[in-house]
Symmetry: C2
Amino acid sequence: MPLIENNLKSNLMNKFFDCDLKQLQADYHSIKEINISKKAFLYHQGDRCSDVFWIKNGIVKLSHITEEGIEMTMTILGKGSVIGCFWNNSASPEVEETVQALGEVNFYRLAKSDFKALMSHQTELAWHIFEEVNARKQKVERKLRTFLTQPVEMRVIATLLELSEIFGIKCTHGYALEIHLTQQEVADLVGASRSVVSTVLNDFRSRGMLDYTREQICINDASFINL
Amino acid sequence: MPLIENNLKSNLMNKFFDCDLKQLQADYHSIKEINISKKAFLYHQGDRCSDVFWIKNGIVKLSHITEEGIEMTMTILGKGSVIGCFWNNSASPEVEETVQALGEVNFYRLAKSDFKALMSHQTELAWHIFEEVNARKQKVERKLRTFLTQPVEMRVIATLLELSEIFGIKCTHGYALEIHLTQQEVADLVGASRSVVSTVLNDFRSRGMLDYTREQICINDASFINL
DNA sequence: ACATTTTTGTTATATAGATAACAGACGTAA
DNA sequence: TTACGTCTGTTATCTATATAACAAAAATGT
């Protein structure tokens, strides 16, 4: 169900992505299509970046490293997401997060000015992107609430369920995540220590709520409904 | 300095707010100007709302009450902010937060469809609002990072400084907040217990970093720079 | 096939902060 | 002025989770 909704929402984007790149370049000079491989970076925290990135295919991880050296994963995004530097924060043009490809990633990169032009010409598309950014804002807000009021156990559940909605593939038990996450990565995502996450995951596994190997996490979503 | 920047940014909005309401109503039938008094609510968590609210004057508090009954203040917003329901989340049209006026508040209210129309006609304004929403997204992200990695002490500092940038009035010691906050409200804002917040505030006061009465909080911002 | 690195599972200890409880201060309505 | 409700300040106790440390397992490179 979440997958279907996802597809509907990206129809407009597909139309955009499917049209000829050359044609786009005529109007928006700076636009370029780029492919990068697994674990490569789109940009780093602190970069003085004034471009906008638009994920055409693949999955990326946005993380931030605090001054104390703690890595925090802000979110994981897929096809259709717009990231980079499109706000007018003259004070600091440095991006606040590092973006890394999980698997192969294919994206468009264009200057902020061209992005702005594109947004004003294509109002339907602009509205769509506006909604996407706003939905992301809402997700962070929900995350903040969950993290501030729920114990690690719940945060792990919430995080995995959210991921499974976006990157889950239906499998025999429920949803298998199409991305590989180590326990440390899960910990960074839920803002907890790896050891606690390990214990929590084991506990869930022994209760049959999920299963995992080093390769893959598989969630029995039915067993979480009573949350 | 933050105040000046704020003013620059809202020039466009001012132009919009200053123009004749009747004129706007001709194009956007649903638009209405509304005034509400102190402590009144714009809308409540769970309301099935499909309108967009645009703060013309005053300050509002967005909070969420968890199932366990814990109140969490997501943010405090002022003039120029756009809130309400403008995303396309067909799954749940219910808003996730309660919005309350701190002091007198004056705002425009319009149907989502009109808001969308307005956004497509006035591309400059649309871009401006897009940036505003995005800036708010960034703020929540920063908040999430701070709250997940910093102790209550730091969260209080960060929160008060952020508020003073937006709602601070220059006074003899530094910035006085033009909004009245009880310790409980500060606690809701920093996601901590009231008792700890109380101790922290007293500690800061005794160190001369801030001063407060039941009426007002006043921050000696200079003393926080070494953070 | 071996050495090295990365990931996992587990436990013992320490600690920030929640909770609860209460007294005093302040504000305000009668 | 009294009484009552709302805020504030403080402390004693409890708990979730961080930290640290280590061994086993798996992956990776040579």
